[in-house]
């Protein structure tokens, strides 16, 4: 259900940007979500559409890029993608690892006219 709150905050940013840029219509919203955030895209989009109904954003296409989880090993320094929920280094097996990608909740850009 956190989709609703995230959609709300996104709508504020999009509407604010559209106003500042004098857009009469927003055609596309480009966002990225990290895989760890566990967003359900359908619920998110449904919530977003309800929130922006009757605004310049109402017909915008929503492009959601899902970013895989990437980690850095603090022991041997290698970067690796997490597979099957295994958060350990795939080179040296150390569990002393840090997430460097996969927690994003990011708005990249909007498109409009």
């Amino acid at each position: 259900m956190h989709e609703i709150r995230i959609a709300e905050d996104l709508s504020l940013i999009v509407l604010d940007t559209a106003r500042k840029e004098n857009l009469s219509k927003v055609t596309k919203v480009n966002i990225s979500f990290g895989q760890l955030i566990q967003i359900v895209p359908d619920i998110f989009e449904f919530a977003f559409r309800e929130i922006v109904r009757n605004s310049v954003v109402q017909d915008a296409e929503i492009d959601i890029e899902i970013i895989p989880v990437k980690m850095k090993c603090k022991n041997c320094g290698s970067d690796f993608l997490v597979k099957d929920n295994l958060f350990a280094c795939n080179v040296c097996s150390s569990t002393d690892v840090a997430i460097i990608q996969g927690k994003e909740l990011f708005i990249k850009s909007i498109e409009g006219e």
């Binding site: 995230i6 566990q38 929920n85 958060f87 569990t95 498109e111 409009g112």
Partner: protein, 217 residues
């Protein structure tokens, strides 16, 4: 026309959380964000912890609940400052709601502030409240698959409490499965296996949380 924005969608929450974190650091108050499913034992853990540490430390509690003040009522007997945040349906607390209620506490006379988040394993782990750290509390009756299903929480938390170990004989909870899943997700996280009703394992927990409070003081 494309307009670049490149911004964290939850910036508003993050900025307020940073404010809260700075304020609490300046007051030397340790804020702990407790996250669990409904019924895992957050309030019972707080009851036990207030009983054991209430005379050594000045404890405060923020009770996040969708509705009612029943959890707060249970803690009333410890004579500690408690503030209830009713989210009215909201599935998590956020930094703005925490910031608003902080003025109800005398932060100069507080060592630790426990936040009992709304019972839920997904949403609360996405919203920084400005806490020093998150705690993941799970209970054996929920099954052994919680770390595998909710990796974000078990990555973000500083420690895991596995509650209701006294009930294991009546469930199909598999310790090996739980421990090996957790190890895959966060191989370095301390785990306290406890029973808040019977008292098993609580000494270790008290010692650990005492250490955390003392670091901040």
């Amino acid at each position: 026309m494309e307009i670049k924005i490149m911004k964290n969608i939850l910036d508003r929450n993050q900025n307020k959380a940073n404010e809260v974190r700075n304020l609490l650091a300046s007051k030397k108050v340790l804020m702990v964000n407790i996250i669990s499913s409904p019924g895992a034992g957050k309030t019972t853990l707080l009851e036990r912890t207030c009983e054991e540490l209430g005379t050594t430390f000045r404890i405060g509690v923020i009770e996040g609940d969708i509705t009612t003040d029943r959890d707060a009522q249970r803690l009333k007997k410890y004579n500690i400052p408690i503030v209830v945040i009713n989210t009215e349906g909201g599935c998590h607390l956020d930094s703005h709601s925490i910031s608003k209620v902080l003025s109800s506490f005398d932060l100069d006379n507080l060592d630790v502030l426990f936040v009992e988040n709304v019972g839920n394993l997904i949403c609360p782990s996405q919203f920084d409240l400005g806490e020093a750290f998150k705690l993941a509390l799970v209970s054996t009756t929920e099954g052994d698959d919680k770390p595998a299903k909710y990796p974000m929480l078990f990555r973000e938390a500083k420690a895991v409490l596995l509650n209701k170990i006294d009930l294991v004989p009546y469930t199909n909870f598999n310790y090996e499965c739980f421990r090996s899943d957790l190890k895959k997700i966060n191989g370095q996280i301390p785990v306290f296996e406890i029973s808040c009703t019977r008292g098993d394992g609580l000494e270790e927990w008290y010692k650990w949380i005492e250490g955390q409070i003392n670091i901040r003081r």
